[in-house]
Amino acid sequence: MRPSILAALLASGCAEPPRGATYRGVTLPVTDLHLHPGDWKSVPASTQAFLAGRFPFPFGLQPEGLAEGVLAAEGILSELTDAGIRRGGLFAIYAPRSVGVASNALVLEAVETDPERLFGFASLPVDAWDTDGPAALEALDRALDAPGMVGVKLAHAHQRFRMDDERYWSIYALAAAHDAPVYLHTGPSPFPGTSQEAPYTDPAYLEAAIAANPDTDFILGHLGHDFINQRVGDLQGCIDLASRYENVWLEPSALGSRSSDPEGENLTASMRAIRDAGLVDRVVYGSDGPQSPGFVGDYLQRTLDAMDRSDYTVDEAARVLDGTYAALFGAAPLERP
């Protein structure tokens, strides 16, 4: 065999996995539950403007090329690798009037780019539920049968349906049948076109659904954070639900970003409150990336800093960064480097 081909084969077969994150001198493997693939053209104009406004000048003037690169599977994998993150979850969403649409098919195609490192959360349109709901549920059922689709993503504020509306509880039953945890956006959202009233954002309005669906795991995304006023928001409500219901999990994505929490105070307060409540083993790490180049790695570092300030032990940090994902989704935990 020619030396150059042999070298290439050896290099591909022996490629180093991402190194992990260093916490108090120990390198820990990381799974980022919460990432958004997408198609820029499927994002509403108002949301395109919202996102482009966050790009450094002059990239916001012509954001499509940069956005497409960041939102593509290859771009997301690159961001994960640069951040030392081993695997990541990709979210579908059907919210045409707010954040746009990333279909189940798009997510599955992205997962197939690297099924060893990527997994997906399916979603469904909830508009005209009384007429279109059954068909939407059938499509979700088929999507959850696909290899690599491990959960369900819902965002009541973005999709504009109430958390306490029993008509939608069939989604939770279907998720339980597939052993697929349900990720839910909680807290007011800054995106244009979202519903910001309490029944769409306050996790307390989920309690009835949580109690009625004990076989469904509910992941309370963003910990009820108030992104509009950039304050802690309904964190205590999330902690209260997790304390009283074993099928409730907590995910601290996005609330600690540079734009939402410049000094890191909100994320630190959130992680400290969770630890004080004895709920570290319910926390699953997610970033809500990729957003912009470098965001995924930056958010991981900000989370590490928040855990350090909140005096998380190495084992507690390991649980947050990968252990809870493995336990909740029945996946093999990543080995420590």
Partner: protein, 205 residues
């Protein structure tokens, strides 16, 4: 004419206030002289023309564009405050912002800037800084069952302008410059520095 003599004549010309490189980059045209400049780079293109009046006053017009998506035409006046070994010039401009694309916006703008530098033989290092304010307004139309609901919102964009570079008097009546563009557009949004290559010409009556 030998090369040495040519270089010396250009160096002498460069150190005269009337050289177009000094007039454009350091500010202020000589009385009765016109000067112009163009530059191209990433992300900025620009073109500028000015004429000298008595008392150190220099009316000017300029247009700047970033990626042919953001356009900033302006007109104003400059005044030389210091004109010895160093030249320091102040400029005041009023204009308009046109920005298309995803971040479309428009509105009147006003800018104050200061320029400084000196001629060292044919070389003319320079720097400039300023503050630019643009009044924006946004029209939102919401389709409702009862008809369209139109609302207007006012806004403000603040840009800190700035840059530095090196001009070279390449000939008696023309020159080049290589510059770093350092505006902070739409504070506090992060701005990436730009670079440009420029040409200056004129100096005649």
């Amino acid at each position: 004419m030998s090369l040495l003599a040519l270089w010396m004549s250009v160096a002498v010309a460069a150190e005269r206030p009337a050289h177009p490189t000094a007039a454009n980059l350091l500010g202020g045209s000589e009385v009765g002289h016109w000067d112009a400049a163009v530059s191209a780079g990433f992300p900025w293109l620009s073109a500028r023309a000015q004429v000298g009046l008595p008392g150190g006053w220099t009316p000017l017009v300029e247009v700047q564009s970033a990626l042919a998506t953001r356009w900033q035409p302006s007109a104003g006046v400059g005044l030389r405050w210091v004109d010895r070994r160093w030249r320091v010039t102040g400029e005041a401009l009023a204009g308009w912002l046109f920005q298309t694309g995803v971040l479309a916006r428009k509105g009147p703008s006003a800018e104050l800037r200061i320029k400084a530098g000196r001629a060292v033989g044919v070389l003319q290092p320079y720097a400039h800084a300023g503050t630019r304010h643009t009044l924006l307004w946004t029209k939102t139309t919401v389709d409702t069952v009862a008809g369209d609901e139109v609302s207007w919102q006012a806004g403000h964009e603040w840009t800190l302008t700035g840059g530095l570079g090196l001009g070279i008097a390449a000939g008696p009546s023309w020159g080049l410059d290589l510059g770093l563009d350092l505006p902070w557009v739409g504070v506090p949004t992060v701005s990436i520095p730009g670079v440009h290559l420029g040409a200056q010409f004129g100096g005649g009556r």
